[in-house]
């Protein structure tokens, strides 16, 4: 049984814009999945189907093997937490702590539990020391973390993040990636995120769906997807710069093995070049 599964999911916005066509998506337990696609590909729309904000026009969305219905929608939303693209649309309270507590309070938990969950969530994303500040004045990275804490406090098992790094500076991106990685590795959360910054993907994800105009045009592991540079370019995306470089060098008969992350690339280049230099001597 998969945590989230869509079967032949099609979604049409009122006004006849079909944003999703026959989507088949599977998220097994503890997976780390990236959905990549250009602006308007349908990533945000797809995510909103995962917790019943949008109901399929045709096809089904199964959460823990069951279709989403009126009866189980609260359970589904507790189970699948979504952090939306723009943090400003998700933060309404006068203090960070109150904002993180918003979700748990709506679930009708007792004050004790709420307090505990809120502090645990704030600790996980590292915003404990700003818990009494006004969210309005936080930096974009801090706001993003508050938004994530607000969802984590509801203790979902699947964490869905829509373009989590948009607008963050490089250090902010690194910090956020570290948080996401630790949520996945230490707390066993299943992570699904979208992005069009392809260089992020190898750092977090292990499986990729490529989306274009409401359809999945490819899916596979990182190495499978990033080998198809023409396909990626045709859907307005890019291959991360390192695999692209290695690819081009391979074509010029330089015997480099493929690498996706920075560490791997450094290693293969060092080995290959030192090899060739050693031959030299």
């Amino acid at each position: 049984m998969h945590l989230i599964e869509t079967r032949d999911l099609t979604f049409t916005y009122p006004g006849n814009v079909t944003a999703l066509h026959h989507i088949n998506f599977i998220a097994p337990r503890n997976a780390r999945i990236a959905v990549i696609g250009s602006n308007g590909a349908g990533k945000s729309t797809l995510f909103k189907c995962f917790n019943g904000i949008f109901m399929p026009t045709s096809g089904t969305v199964l959460v823990r093997g069951e279709p989403i219905t009126r009866e189980n929608i609260r359970e589904v939303r507790k189970f699948v937490g979504i952090v939306f693209q723009n943090a400003d649309d998700q933060i309404f309270s006068p203090t960070v702590e109150q904002d993180v507590a918003f979700g748990p309070t709506n679930l009708g938990l007792d004050p004790e539990t709420i307090h505990h969950r809120v502090h645990e969530a704030m600790r996980l994303v590292g915003i404990e020391d700003i818990s009494h500040r006004v969210p309005h004045h936080l930096s974009s990275g801090e706001k993003k973390r508050v938004a994530i804490a607000g969802i984590i406090a509801m203790e979902p098992e699947v964490l869905v993040l829509d373009e989590p790094t948009a607008g963050l500076d490089p250090q902010g991106v690194r910090d956020l990636m570290a948080i996401i990685n630790s949520l996945s590795k230490q707390y066993g959360m299943t992570i699904i995120f979208s992005t069009h910054d392809v260089s992020l993907v190898p750092e977090v994800a292990e499986y990729i769906y490529v989306m274009n105009r409401g359809r999945f045009v490819a899916q596979g592991t990182i190495s499978e997807i990033f080998l198809q540079s023409e396909m990626l370019q045709s859907v307005r995306l890019d291959v991360p710069v390192l695999p692209k470089l290695i690819r081009n060098l391979q074509k010029k008969n330089i015997p480099l093995p493929m690498a996706y992350t920075f560490e791997d690339a450094e290693r293969v280049f060092t080995e290959t070049y030192q090899e060739s230099i050693r031959h030299d001597r």
Partner: protein, 274 residues
């Protein structure tokens, strides 16, 4: 209601003879029809005149190639407050009649009168005609054409610019509103959820309103700065391409205005009624 703006816009973007008429023509006709309808004296003649007007609107609607469902949906969204007042009329006497005939006795000394039903009917007819005119106008005219038209008709350019910006940001905040609602859903918040205390729900809605207010305030500040960058000052004006009325615009205008005047005259003075 803000979601409606997207649907209204969609119908305004269809193409037809009616859609392609100049906005000025449609605005003048629509407003004159409303004024004529409101000015009709309270009498049963309103049913005839209003009937003709509705027929007229229905034929225009047919010419616009829009589905009647769109019209009915929009009508249903607008009616409640007016209908409520109209419905109460049947239990009340009013000053437009001198005698009242009771046709039904209800408990608590409440009665239903023949004349009151008639009066309610007259009000309803006028109300529906006026509302239909507005639905017709906004479903067949793009917002910015209406603004251009209003400007060419002499609405002060301050107001045209302000309304233009308001309309533009209505759509921006329309998206914001959707996102806020989606966040409410993800966080399981429902302002109608009785399991949460009323105070808590009111507080959260208040905070959301405050946030939206701030968002729009700050948007206003930023937009103002962006306008300064483009040479905005108090003499600024909105750019409207001058356009002359075509012959068919004139034809439509003259025909419709004549119709609005002839019909009541024929019905009232021509003595269709006793």
């Amino acid at each position: 209601m803000i979601d409606e703006v997207f649907y209204i816009e969609k119908s305004a973007y269809c193409k037809s003879y009616i859609h392609s008429l100049d906005a000025r023509v449609k605005i003048i006709s629509a407003f004159s029809l409303i004024i004529v309808t409101v000015a009709l004296p309270y009498s049963t003649a309103v049913f005839f005149v209003g009937g003709f007007f509705l027929l007229f609107l229905a034929s225009l609607w047919a010419l616009s190639h829009l589905s009647p469902l769109i019209f009915l949906k929009r009508l249903a969204a607008i009616l409640p407050f007016g209908l409520c007042i109209i419905f109460f009329q049947i239990f009340l006497t009013n000053r437009y009649y001198s005698t009242f005939h009771i046709i039904a006795h209800l408990p608590f000394g409440i009665h239903i009168y023949t004349e009151s039903i008639e009066f309610a009917g007259i009000l309803l007819m006028k109300f529906i005609v006026c509302v239909s005119v507005i639905i017709f106008l906004s479903s067949t005219t793009k917002l910015q054409e209406m603004l251009d038209g209003a400007k060419q008709l002499g609405l002060p350019s301050d107001f045209v610019m302000a309304l233009g910006m308001m309309v533009r940001y209505l759509f921006v905040f329309g998206y914001t509103y959707r996102k806020i609602n989606e966040t409410f859903k993800t966080k399981c918040f429902d302002p109608f959820d009785n399991q949460l205390s009323y105070h808590y729900r009111l507080r959260q809605i208040g905070y959301t309103i405050g946030t939206l207010f701030l968002r729009s305030y700050e948007q206003g500040e930023r937009t103002y700065l962006a306008m300064l960058c483009r040479g905005y000052d108090r003499h600024s004006d909105i750019y409207v391409r001058q356009k002359n009325l075509s012959r068919r615009d004139w034809v439509f205008l003259i025909l419709s205005l004549t119709f609005f005047i002839i019909i009541p005259i024929v019905v009232y003075i021509g003595g269709i009624l006793p």
